[in-house]
Symmetry: C2
Subunit: 375 residues, 2 copies
């Protein structure tokens, strides 16, 4: 199998699994217990929290563990809205993940007004559009750091400056940016920032929300005193430990992983463009994460191409896994190009540091076969 | 170590861990992907769903996987309130878990009226109180099946009948009842029912909410199409598999486990009452789950007793782990007896099928030492 869909999910690294293992059947106490078999696990959870915090320059107490990035994204926006019940305007973009877009659409039904900022043909956001959209009624700005389908980066530093100058909370979905671009919350003034473990070789079922110390937080899950009164529910000790280990690894190996991905991605793109007719790259070439190539195969149906490659043991996708059950064209490519055709003829390749040139050569060979068959 | 706190959490059984293991580092795809490496896991998740459904007589499509029982409890109540925005009255009891009580208290601040039904000295609920509390404004009744601190059972069958006859949705927190009393949702008309994996020898970080097929559900986590459009977020495949395996085991071994627990619990209670002066059992002796004994040690501070036993390698608790960080007396014993003294001098022993008479003898011996030291 050749797996070029790391933006959908990543394997749990063996080191991460080994770190988690003792906490299933051996050290399985409840951290909130009064006796040591349970309470000593508070320290373990605290270490995991510190490791995740380190990855983005946060303080441990600024990290709220959640069950996934969807929960983090939902919780951040809901918290801001609860804290400012009179403000009824939300700003986001047309190319966000479904956990922001579908939440915003539901909020529109509750009477909120939502501005979906457009992107240009390259997938870039114009900061002037954000400035024009902001007003006295704006409760929150929620914009992603790196797009999950194209890898295109939003100008997060400028967005944060604009939001801070207007006193509007800024939530950033950084799920696809973490481990791929440097993130330092002491340098960039986001108020809330979402991270997921299973996109950085950690386990599924655990995410985090950075909540700046100066910011109020209104919990989404109400129950026990866990997570410093900010999320009820028994701590998922093994998965938190796994998240911490994955965060440590991605931080330690950051430069090396990024460099390897850059070389592989450039080779992948160069080879595809050279060998498959009528192909082009979707998204700004200069402002992208190192792991993601979204390529337009003109005249070739992307679902047919995904199926063809699957039959040859190659995993790629025609959009986000979170919406790939739907047959709709990619909302991201549609927002960029306005072309349903292009949105239905584009494929996302998302690689990792372990990706090899030989894997890329195999993929391009199968793409050539696919082109002959599907054109 | 002797662990008599299974109501706080249970170990992951080796069979459960082995069932989960392949889904971390080998079969780690995203079930929502279009290619087989991911999509074949939909079948695996479906099998886990069927196993959890089987445990309570539900249909697989009536099981929503969540991240924990707290999420299930919160989601059930929020769903009902969203579906009936004009009804502003909630009925629950004074002895519910914090994930119901704290949620209800937060809803009171939003303008909801909440009736907290009392319990008698035995921890029992009077069905007449429920009937009297129900009115045209009642949006939902949320009552637990078995109490987490005393093990006392509520008359769920009668509660369900009353609620159904009045057309009021009934949510039941069955976390501590599952695997300990027979639960069959085809026989008892609950609309929503909460289950947790880590109380039945499955992993932490995964729960379920039974949602009767005839009932509408308004999702709490908005995102992708996962969980039949009812909960966004990438499926936590390994933990769902573990939950399914744990559910299968507890179903298969139900009678045997319950019988063993009954014998152990009766021996535990008989021995404590015989050897430790001024002890009595909190909660109705005839209507309790087989695993839980809540015992009043008159004149002995429960926190001191927990600490003493901890120093001898014995794990018990003075209340729910979800509130044991707080120094407050048990709200359950307080609601039953009205006595702060009794609420601060009671200990929960929660055993399991693997508990032995020799463990019980050791605990009673240490209780005797504790009595000498702490009386």
């Amino acid at each position: 199998m050749i797996y070029f869909d790391h933006n959908a999910t990543t394997p749990v690294l063996p080191e991460v699994f080994e770190a988690m293992r003792p906490y299933f059947c051996d050290e399985w106490g409840n951290p909130s217990s009064a006796y040591r078999f349970g309470s000593k696990l508070k320290t373990i959870v605290g270490m995991a929290r510190g490791r995740v915090a380190n990855l983005i320059g946060a303080l441990p107490e600024e990290i709220l563990f959640t069950s996934c990035a969807t929960e983090s994204n939902n919780a951040a926006i809901q918290s801001v809205l609860k804290s400012n019940p009179t403000k009824r305007h939300i700003i986001t973009s047309a190319v966000e993940h479904s956990s922001v877009l579908n939440h915003c659409q539901a909020l529109e039904k509750e009477g909120y007004r939502v501005t979906y900022l457009p992107v240009d043909r390259d997938g870039l956001l114009n900061i002037i559009d954000l400035e024009n959209a902001l007003n006295d009624q704006t409760a929150v700005v929620s914009l992603m750091w790196a797009n999950n389908e194209t890898g295109v980066l939003f100008p997060v530093e400028k967005i944060a400056e604009v939001c801070q100058s207007k006193g509007v909370p800024f939530h950033c979905d950084a799920v696809q940016a973490v481990g791929k671009v440097p993130i330092d919350v002491t340098r960039i003034h986001v108020d809330y920032l979402t991270i997921s473990a299973h996109k950085i070789f950690g386990p599924k079922g655990v995410g985090a929300l950075f909540i700046r110390r100066s910011v109020l937080f209104s919990p989404m899950l109400l129950g026990g005193h866990q997570e410093n009164e900010r999320r009820g529910g028994t701590e998922n000790v093994p998965l938190l430990v796994g998240f911490g280990r994955a965060a440590d690894l991605v931080r330690q190996e950051f430069s090396e992983r990024v460099e390897k991905c850059l070389v592989s991605r450039d080779y992948l793109e160069k080879t595809i463009l050279a060998h498959i007719p009528n192909t082009s790259i979707n998204g700004c070439r200069d402002s992208r994460i190192s792991t993601t190539s979204n390529i337009h195969f003109s005249g070739i149906d992307s679902d047919a191409l995904v199926t063809f490659l699957d039959s040859r043991g190659i995993c790629v996708s025609s959009g986000s896994a979170c919406i790939s059950n739907a047959i709709a064209p990619s909302h991201v490519i549609l927002a960029m190009t306005g072309s349903i055709g292009k949105a239905k003829q584009s494929i996302r390749f998302s690689i990792a540091h372990a990706t090899t040139h030989s894997e890329i050569d195999s993929v391009v060979k199968e793409l050539q076969h696919a082109y002959q068959q599907l054109k």
